[in-house]
Symmetry: D2
Subunit: 305 residues, 4 copies
Amino acid sequence: MSVGHHFWYIYNRQSSIMKKKKNTAIILISCPDQKGIVHKVCDFVLNNNGNIIGLAQHVDREDQHFFMRIEWELEGFSIPDEKIGEFFDTLIAKKYGMNWALHFSNTKPRVALFVSKYAHCIHDILSRYESSEWDIEIPLIISNHEKFRPLAERHDIPYHYFPINRENKKEQEQKEIELLKSEEVDFVILARYMQILSGQMTEAFPMQIINIHHSSLPAFAGANPYKAAYLRGVKFMGATAHYVTEDLDEGPIIAQDVVSISHRDNINEMKRKGRNIEKIVLADAIWSHLNHKVLIYKNRTVVFD
Amino acid sequence: MSVGHHFWYIYNRQSSIMKKKKNTAIILISCPDQKGIVHKVCDFVLNNNGNIIGLAQHVDREDQHFFMRIEWELEGFSIPDEKIGEFFDTLIAKKYGMNWALHFSNTKPRVALFVSKYAHCIHDILSRYESSEWDIEIPLIISNHEKFRPLAERHDIPYHYFPINRENKKEQEQKEIELLKSEEVDFVILARYMQILSGQMTEAFPMQIINIHHSSLPAFAGANPYKAAYLRGVKFMGATAHYVTEDLDEGPIIAQDVVSISHRDNINEMKRKGRNIEKIVLADAIWSHLNHKVLIYKNRTVVFD
Amino acid sequence: MSVGHHFWYIYNRQSSIMKKKKNTAIILISCPDQKGIVHKVCDFVLNNNGNIIGLAQHVDREDQHFFMRIEWELEGFSIPDEKIGEFFDTLIAKKYGMNWALHFSNTKPRVALFVSKYAHCIHDILSRYESSEWDIEIPLIISNHEKFRPLAERHDIPYHYFPINRENKKEQEQKEIELLKSEEVDFVILARYMQILSGQMTEAFPMQIINIHHSSLPAFAGANPYKAAYLRGVKFMGATAHYVTEDLDEGPIIAQDVVSISHRDNINEMKRKGRNIEKIVLADAIWSHLNHKVLIYKNRTVVFD
Amino acid sequence: MSVGHHFWYIYNRQSSIMKKKKNTAIILISCPDQKGIVHKVCDFVLNNNGNIIGLAQHVDREDQHFFMRIEWELEGFSIPDEKIGEFFDTLIAKKYGMNWALHFSNTKPRVALFVSKYAHCIHDILSRYESSEWDIEIPLIISNHEKFRPLAERHDIPYHYFPINRENKKEQEQKEIELLKSEEVDFVILARYMQILSGQMTEAFPMQIINIHHSSLPAFAGANPYKAAYLRGVKFMGATAHYVTEDLDEGPIIAQDVVSISHRDNINEMKRKGRNIEKIVLADAIWSHLNHKVLIYKNRTVVFD
């Protein structure tokens, strides 16, 4: 989640959701580094009787920029949930010029999947969904092919087919955006979706779309990275999960992994190895995102672990 | 070692060297794939009473190209050492259109080191040299700085200072080539040598110069890869050992390794991690090269292990 | 597949299966190292007009033991499929004291899954099955819990519930063995099956049962490896796929992978990371097994790649 | 550095050392988790005009134990260096039951090396020493062999030969301890020292001796781990740097790394790969230790990065 921009949206939806488990609040902070920030933020929580259960901060000394994630239990916290944002903004954030976002752990994010014809990522995501590894809702799957409709139906997830070609792309994307908005989707996962998103889509969901690219970016951006890696004769290949921006394969990287290859690996074998790391890297990025552990700054990420 | 081109040179020097240990012959072969090649090559060795102790082959099905490495003990082999090349060429290689090279394990390669100001690779190489991990001779070190002269002297290795600037580059390189040739150098290691070699040098030592680049090529080719990796926010950084061709950082890759990084790693920390993998990757590439396990085809390598 | 023991069984079932794709024969060989073995085996194939498309061999110099895998296209091969075994045995294998096995690539192995309550491996296997990544049949799933019956039904795979306790274990296993035999199962995958198999089961399917253990064996064998790894404070954790023998977690290792951990990883996070590598390692081991690339010798494996 | 025990020693030596660079103070803290600890510690620094440049904390939720590392610039800090320990202890540490240690960044640790006959770790350490990668002093090398005396002399480091056998071990160790104490050694590195230290040594330098073991502990503890790994047929081998305790190979692990191996790697090749990771893992552990980033709790480490 990009820091701060989407605060009100997240906050408002949260307040209408049934509390089901021990609730915590999470604030992500990004601002110019200054003396005493950690201190002030801890003050805010502790003085209002919050029990801090997670605290991580980072200073980028190169850029003199500060990053923080704080999580505390809401039981007994003296500021009501729906007022936390306002109070934090007034008492702390404005004074330090913070970019920030508030999240509640008992919010169940609504996630849309985009898929084309590759099975491994969509299967992996739905397996985790089915076994409740992730506490999310998937209200819809969007695809430019009909291939995975049976899979979606088996999981009782509405499947929306949007065939895309050069002529209808803008129009189809517009419909997709409307659908996503009407379904109150929090973020989008491109599970090997083989279409390039236009600016209207990335603007509608800024830093809310996660893509998996089948190479170790920035190496082999664009189409056919396996073939390119094979031709270059590299000894490692990779996978990269990143937020989607208007510049293809240039958005902030959330997670990467690599696997060693040799002359014995032909392109089919590279694809097989690639599928294994793609689905894991994508799942790792989603996990960090879901736990509100990702901050973005200058096209880079801070991923607390 | 590029396959075949340098056969006579290697062969001739070998024959004048004292045999010190149990000697083996190694033939590296590369040719269009055809039925029965392995068979024919084994025949050549076995029918002449050679005991095969290493056999590896690979077929690139994409390119229908065949690669092989065979090693056998020379004791009792019925073809004299100095005739093996001629016989193999006549009886086998010509018939199959082979690109090939013959090596003898008791040849002690003569290796030149090029270095600038970074210590980690040169230290690592000299440590392995001193502890006889590699069976090589280092008859000279060449540098564009005086920095490592004391180190070289301590190891009794002649140190040649060739200051390089835009004006004198061609001329200085020419002198370096003459020196390398007069010292009968088999191959050259660029141990973080911070000068770009011109075409005259790479032509004088084709596929006989190994460089270590401090990134996971093809990502971050050229200058300042650490800074570039930092700015791109990657989660893995790497090191690449490759043969040097006229195209900067574009030669065949011999070995690579990677190390995970996070937002916590500033550029200094990236450099520290980078040094660790650079020296190991370079040493691994040298090891494969020394054991005649590297074949080159279409700017890619087959590295038998 | 253990080399040689099961030749007739495999061979017989194969001959009754419809050929659907370009068929190849694969022979796995293990024997004391001797001069000219590769040669003789290649002879056998080439002299009978076979086109070799895969050849890998290995010599364990410590034990002076030889391993080989050869694959050739059967089209035009002058020995009929059903006679290859007999001819090879007579002409080659007996002379060299070979332990060997013959496989045909168009045989679709029949695989049984054993599962208990963990979802990740069974989900991953069925995803690969559904997307035809593996050319296998899964005629049955066996479990000591009812949990995954709906999942099995969704995939149209018969689900057999065998509750196991100390009293009925022997008897229940006996029934399982009968069921597996009657279903002509080729091998068994323990997809996080939380029961220890007794000797009668491992004897009934020698080197035909693959287990995934959630540690980097031999570290943390037995129960609760995550907890043990946490308490020991290791910085890497792993997963191990191995053939099951009567000695718990002591069978030949087929594949392993590891993932770095730190003090930040509590046991839940270790489990999350563990699930990711467990399912991939298990799939990798199955892939090698399915492609007849695994040979066993002295409780170790040779896995050609 | 174990937390707290050695405070006075470190503190005293520090105060007599010339300040050469911008000095910082580092406090390592370990205590039962309580509300507001981070807060209180930040207060201590900030209220006295300290500029925090490093802050890391960790809570082990399993054990409800808290860990923290704070580093601040001493310029302008209102408590004199030699009083910081006393003030912190009185104002903060005692109230929270903290185990703690204070370090100053401009202290140059005095490090003793123990070595036997393997060259790679000692060479690597001395290379880093020579190129000033580490800001340490090495006042002596101790060995049970004469082998590396020339190497030590070349680096102007006194070399002490202590031949050890069953009879003289206790006595020789006692002399070593006296020598180490008289040289005011801060910590000891066992650079592949092939002798088991007795309790008198580990008690004299508790959590001040770092060893490198050539396996991925707890797998293959004790002698001959390569051979054991080979016989078990593992697909990964490792190296482990740990603090030495009286129980052989059982002390808290600081750093580990692994490298993949296959049937193609015989024991010599395993040793070659092992050497590469051993020296890097040892150097990584030393780096963490030198930067006062390691805390110990219940035989596990928290290593801040």
